[in-house]
Amino acid sequence: MNKPQGEVFDIGYQPYEGAREGRNAARKALLIDGMRTALGMGRGLTAKILPGLLFLALLIPALVFIIIASVVGQTGIDDLPGVADYYQGAIYPVLIFSAIIAPELLTTDRRNGVLSLYLVRPITSSDYIIGRWLAFFLLSLIVVWVPQLLLYIGVNLGSTDAWEYLRDNWDDIPRFLLAGAALALFTTTLPLAAAAFTDRRAIAAALVIGIWVIALAVGNALSDGIGGTAGAWLALIDIGSTPLHINDMIFNQASDGPGRAAEEVPKAVRIGWYLILVAVPAAFLYMKYRKVSA
C-alpha cells in the first residue's frame, strides 16, 4: 500500500495579520474597479460586447484613413482628415460611447445597493465619486487618444519621409493630446452628472443622447436661420460641439464641423462656455454625492 504523500488539514478561521494599506489603496481599488466595470471586465460576455463595439466604432474611421493614406501615398495625404480635424466627424461615436458607458459606473452601484458598502469602508463619499469620475476620465483619454495616435503613426508611415513628416508635424502630438483631454473631460462629466438623476443606465443614456441631439438640431437651426452675430452666439446652444471649438483653438484652425458659426464668438467666451459646461455638472455631481449616505 502506498504511503500518503500529504494530508489536508482544516486549520479553521485564520485572523488576518497582513498589511492594511489604508485610504489611498482603497481609492486605487475603486479607480481600477471603475475602469473594469466600464469595460465589462470580470462580468459575462454580454457586458463586454457593448463597450467593445463602441470602441471599435471609434477606431474604424482612423483605420480607414490609415488604409487610404497607405494607398494614395504622399500626394493624397493632405486631402485626408488629420489629427487636427479628426473629431469634426468622429466626435459622435465618442459622445455615444460616453453617454452609454459612463452611467454604468454610478447607476448600478445605487440600484444594487453596493454604494452603502463602499461608504462604510475607509473612504468617503467624495472619494467614491472622484474615483468613479477619474476612472471614466482615464478610460475616455484612452478612447480619444488611441485613434489619434494610430492616425498620426499611420499617416507618418504613409508619407514619403517619415522622419521629415515627424520633424514638420511634431507639434501636433501635444496638440492632439491636449485637445483629446479637453474632449474627454467634457464627455466624462455630463453623462456622469445625468447618471446621478436616475438608477437606470438606459434612462441616463437616453437623457444624455437626447441633450446632444436636441442641442445639435436647435443650435444649428437657429444659427443658420438667424445668421449674423446673433446666429453665431446661438450656435453655442449646440453644446456637443463645444469641445470642437477648443480643438480648433488648440490647432489654430478654422472650424469645419457642426456649430462652426460659433467661431465668430470671442475665444474667451467659447472657452468660458466650455468651462461652464464642465464645471457645473462636476459641481452638481460632487455636491449630490457628498451628501449621500448608506
Binding site: 485564520q14 492594511r20 494599506e21 485610504r23 489603496a25 459575462g44 452601484d109 475607509p122 448608506a294
Partner: protein, 311 residues
C-alpha cells in the same frame, strides 16, 4: 471585557425628531444584540458608529476613535445591511476580492481572504458563479462574507435572518455564533427577533424611543423565575384541590399547565404529596424562565412594533 463601542451623551436629531436622546452606553467584545421596536433608534445608532451620520451631540466612539471624522477608523469595521447590497453580474469571488481591496488589503491577500471567507460561510463550491444566480440564503451569506472579508474587529449585522426560511435561519444563526466564538470577531446584531438574540448573543442592549431602557448579559434576562409549571395528563382538578389542601394556589387557563407563583423551598415536598394524593399522572414539572419578550410586554411595545420571538 474590553469596550469596543462607546456612546457618550450621544444624540441625533432629524429636525424636530429626536432619534437618539443623549444616550450613554458601552458595548463590550462578544456578540451583542441590539433590540428595539421600529423607529427606536437602532439604525441611527449603527450609522453613527459606522461614521455615516454626524452626531448632533456627544460622541460615538469605536475603539476610542470617531469614525465620522476619521474614515480610517472604519477599516476594522464590517457592515451587513438589511437591504439588498450585492451586484448581480459578477462572481462572489470577484466581489469579495474587490471589497477586501477597498478595505485596504493588498491584492494577493484580498484574493486569499475572499476564497477563505467564502469557504467559511459555506460558498466554496459556488464562488465562481454570478451572484445573480444565487438563492436568498446564499446571497445572505455573501452579505455576511463581505462584512468580514477584511477581518474586522467589530461587525454590524442588521436583521441578518430577514427573508430566510427556517433552515436558512438556523444556518445563519450558527454562522453568527461562530463569528464570535471561532473567528474572534465581535458583533452588534440589530434585530426585532428576540429568539435570534437569545440564541446568539452574550449581551443585550435595548433601545426604545431614543433611549437605552435595558442593558446586560442575555442570561440575566432569561434566568429562572419563581414560577413553577406543572403539566399532568389527567385528574387536573383533583391536583388543584390537593394543592389547595396544602396551602398552594395553582393558576391556569383550565387546559394548559398549572402555574404556581412564588413557590417556597418546602413547596416541592407539598407538590410531590399533592401529586400522590390526587393520582394525577405527571408529564412535566419545571421552573419558569424569563423571556426577552417580557421586557417589551412590560412597556406594551411588543405588539405595536412587530417584535416577536421569531421561534
Amino acid at each position: 471585557m474590553a469596550e469596543l463601542l462607546q456612546a457618550a451623551g450621544l444624540s441625533k436629531h432629524y429636525g424636530s425628531t429626536v432619534a437618539l436622546d443623549s444616550v450613554d452606553f458601552a458595548v463590550p467584545s462578544g456578540i451583542t444584540g441590539l433590540l428595539g421596536p421600529n423607529g427606536a433608534g437602532k439604525s441611527t445608532a449603527i450609522k453613527l458608529f459606522l461614521g455615516l451620520l454626524e452626531p448632533t451631540g456627544g460622541q460615538a466612539l469605536v475603539m476610542g476613535e470617531e469614525p465620522y471624522s476619521l474614515p480610517a477608523a472604519r477599516s476594522r469595521l464590517g457592515y451587513m445591511p438589511e437591504h439588498d447590497c450585492l451586484p448581480s453580474a459578477i462572481t462572489a469571488s470577484e466581489f469579495l476580492t474587490h471589497m477586501a481591496r477597498v478595505s485596504g488589503l493588498p491584492a494577493a491577500d484580498a484574493r486569499t481572504r475572499a476564497a477563505d471567507t467564502l469557504r467559511h460561510v459555506g460558498l466554496d463550491e459556488e464562488r465562481y458563479r454570478s451572484i445573480g444566480e444565487y438563492s436568498t440564503g446564499m446571497k445572505q451569506r455573501v452579505k455576511l462574507a463581505q462584512a468580514i472579508v477584511h477581518d474586522p474587529v467589530m461587525v454590524f449585522l442588521d436583521e441578518p435572518t430577514a427573508g430566510l426560511d427556517p433552515m436558512g435561519r438556523e444556518e445563519m444563526l450558527d454562522l453568527i455564533r461562530r463569528i464570535g466564538t471561532d473567528f474572534g470577531i465581535s458583533a452588534l446584531v440589530s434585530t426585532h427577533l428576540m429568539g435570534d438574540v437569545e440564541r446568539t448573543c452574550d449581551e443585550i442592549l435595548v433601545i426604545d424611543a431614543g433611549r437605552v431602557t435595558h442593558q446586560g448579559a442575555v442570561k440575566g434576562f432569561t434566568e429562572e423565575t419563581q414560577t413553577m409549571y406543572i403539566e399532568v395528563d389527567d385528574r387536573r382538578d383533583q391536583l388543584v384541590a390537593a394543592l389547595a389542601d396544602r396551602g398552594i394556589e395553582a393558576n391556569g387557563d383550565g387546559h394548559g399547565p398549572l402555574l404556581i407563583e412564588n413557590l417556597s423551598d418546602d413547596g416541592f415536598d407539598a407538590i410531590r404529596d399533592a401529586l400522590v394524593a390526587s393520582g394525577a399522572p405527571l408529564r412535566r414539572l419545571a421552573p419558569g424562565r424569563a423571556q426577552l419578550s417580557d421586557i417589551f410586554k412590560a412597556s406594551g411595545t411588543e405588539r405595536e412594533s412587530g417584535m416577536s420571538n421569531g421561534q
